[in-house]
Symmetry: C2
Subunit: 210 residues, 2 copies
């Protein structure tokens, strides 16, 4: 059982279980998803991250006690990852470093695509401080991605990066997982995109397969 930590507060179990469903579809891994408390707007700045980290650590401990064999911190910024790894005895994979580390392995021209102002820390750490970063036009939150315009803008943003000579795009937003953008890029543009939830699922599939 994979314990999935969602770094926001949400009432809808369908929303909360989204990343777990994607990992189950792709890798056949069962999971248990839980949210941190009292942060309906999630993590969006240093103060909200500081409030979240102790909750992330406590939730990870709880998931371990409840029998999870590995944890997935489902956020591309890896908030509190080092503290969480210290706090539990099971493997912890996080969306940001999972996607960024696979992109780094490929050693080809790479860019990061997300919806924030710039590439989150794990991408800058693993791919270089000056890593090329882009966000789709008109998209500032994950809800924007769910519209036809948001999806179109995301595909156009990726296409623009590939036309510049980029060969690999790593996603720094799990909202692209919800709209299955990596698959669309593969089919429609014939290019490589690394989905952050799929990347984390890959690590879970190899290192905590039971």
């Amino acid at each position: 059982m994979l314990g999935i930590i969602r770094v926001l507060t949400h009432d809808d179990p369908n929303f909360v279980g989204e990343h777990g469903r994607l990992i189950e579809q792709q890798y056949g891994i069962a999971s248990l998803s839980r949210c941190i408390a009292d942060q309906p707007t999630g993590i969006f700045d240093a103060a909200s991250e500081a409030r979240a980290v102790p909750k992330i650590v406590a939730l990870g401990r709880q998931l371990e006690q409840d029998g999870c064999k590995a944890l997935f911190l489902s956020c591309a910024a890896d908030p509190g990852l080092a503290a969480l790894r210290q706090a539990v005895s099971i493997p912890v994979v996080s969306a940001g470093s999972a996607a960024a580390s696979i992109a780094a392995l490929l050693q080809r021209p790479v860019a990061v695509m997300g919806i924030g102002a710039n590439a989150p820390a794990p991408f800058r750490n693993l791919l270089g401080e000056d890593i090329l970063y882009a966000r789709p036009q008109g998209v500032t939150n994950t809800t924007d991605l769910l519209t036809p315009e948001g999806r179109e803008a995301s595909l156009a943003c990726a296409d623009g990066l590939y036309r510049q000579g980029i060969e690999v795009i790593a996603f720094s937003c799990t909202g692209f997982s919800t709209i299955a953008l990596a698959g669309a890029i593969n089919r429609q543009l014939g290019k490589i995109a690394i989905d952050a939830v799929s990347a984390a699922g890959l690590f879970a599939s190899q290192l905590a397969p039971n």
Copy 2:
């Protein structure tokens, strides 16, 4: 500490530690490499694999008892991987499924390159029974790779696959790690090759970072 299981018997500590050195260079992970006993010619058929599996399991248990936090089964055929995972409580990554699973994630036209008669089981399981497989001309064992001719034949083999439209090559032989072929392919051909030792190191770097 990463415990590395070499699936052959060898006296030279420099040879035995080769994969550990590559992982330390690339990911800064310390390791302890040990060989299985009484198999100087390694695993080359079903009978030699059957003899090796109980030794692989016993060696994995010993490395866990000696304090290793994760294990790397350094063979592209993943011999005894399921039994080893059952036998220990720490994560186990293996060269074959590590490389093959990353290649599968990329969802682009892929081939496997090795030195045996065909693609080992983990590559066929993860990339399809009919996965395209090639081996460099004149290369039948890892010693052949260490000559200038072997290196040239390996690069030519890869080049031929890319010219057929293959975009990603997964290595099913750790001998290509010793000659740093993935880096040569990247620099000289501008293409993606997934080195099996690097792939395993990537998993270890994310899930057993201490």
